[in-house]
Symmetry: D2
Subunit: 145 residues, 4 copies
């Protein structure tokens, strides 16, 4: 069952939305004239880093040897994004059990009625040996408060 | 319904498999020590370009103003990939109707019993104005022969 | 003669400095733990795009078929930059004749007495056929006012 | 004094040339239609990794905590490189003293009389704490044999 059908999805969309602006530079585009699709995953990750905080992520990695890894990413790309655009990355998130965080993320171009790109992303917590670990309490608290 | 449940999926996996080797360089990794996940989508695209041929893709773009765009990408990331690895990207493909091509792609590390990363990707054919176009006959022939 | 010895360099460093902040994300680092060096050129370009304005760059490209290309880039990398850092990209610029713009750019980490990275970059103006073109008047005015 | 004027340069160009092929994919280009310039530094690095060997680089990092960092990179970009091109990266190298390796690298498009891109790159050897270290004997031997 994909994240799209998950019961958690409804809960997820009821969470607070986090907004993050991304400006599209030369580096983001390819010769077709629009953003190269793997870069969408970069913008989603930048937004998630802002939700959690890069200081908190650094500390977890350096002091507790814990990090987060993408386990699943389901993405739909409905509209092209152009050089010079400043898009709004909207992020919804929730905790699913001891190990997983769920993220619904959308990229919105200015003045549009629908998102250009949407994604459902599952993250798991891992140590430096890439073994699954329970989410640290401070992350659970942060994402559910 | 996700691609995972699609009836076409079975057909897809009966198609010929295309193998493509990717060596992992510094540029592919991040500070966690393994490949940065959006790069998987790059390797999948490189492999698809080899299936179709970059000369054919250039010609379609320059002479007929046609290109291919990722419409959906569902990815599962099960194992980390390390600097120096040479992975095998396995690509299965089929045509779905007049407009869509379906791709099942896997990244295999040497000596492993399971793929490190799997993805189901839908591509559509578009002109330079980003309008949906029927697949050119030469592409349909190429992908079904 | 490298840009380092150029008489214009002194003039260049007397120009106004432009500040641009860049946050370092996962995507910027490699497995050695610091920023992957080609990314410095990305940050320098983002900063130059902010000096000129991406709206102005889009308009020049779409309406006058003109763009800017890096002709030379001399870079010194003296300190590593880490995940979570927010660096200050300092940009000095001047016009050199009809065709060239000169840029001296530096990346500063917070609280440091010296820049982590410095670069001298020459840009030329080109049309879509990649033929050298004189700088448009509006760019000359913008960069010398 | 830039690398261009260095006495070592002549010596360097007398060393054996190493050839490495790079195919240009969607990911390499930007909306101007040619390769995005920071990517040239990626190709140069891939070529250097092939000169030294990624197994040797992994081993140095994992067992001796040693790696190589770009200290200076001087690049000239004279011709655009297009989607579908397969370019030849030519690499010349030498040792300069106890700490530095010097690299002269060029990117050649098929059938051209001049390189599209040239670079002079200085690398230094560092430990994981980013302290300068003498080149390991096996690297000195490898690069001078």
């Amino acid at each position: 069952m994909s994240l799209r059908e998950m019961p958690e999805k409804e809960v997820l969309l009821k969470s607070k939305v986090h907004h993050f602006a991304v400006q599209i530079y030369y580096e983001d585009t390819d010769f077709s004239g629009v953003v190269y699709h793997p870069n969408y995953l970069k913008y989603f990750e930048r937004a998630r880093e802002h939700v959690i905080g890069s200081d908190r992520l650094s500390q977890l990695w350096n002091e507790e040897s814990l990090g987060f890894a993408v386990y699943k990413a389901d993405m739909g790309c409905f509209d092209g994004i152009e050089f010079g655009d400043i898009v709004d990355v909207r992020t919804y998130f929730s905790i699913d059990g001891k190990y997983r965080t769920l993220w619904h993320q959308e990229i919105w171009r200015a003045g549009k009625a629908k998102p250009a790109v949407v994604a459902d992303i599952e993250m798991v917590c891992m140590n430096k040996a890439r073994q699954l670990c329970p989410l640290p309490q401070k992350i659970t608290t942060l994402l559910t408060e």
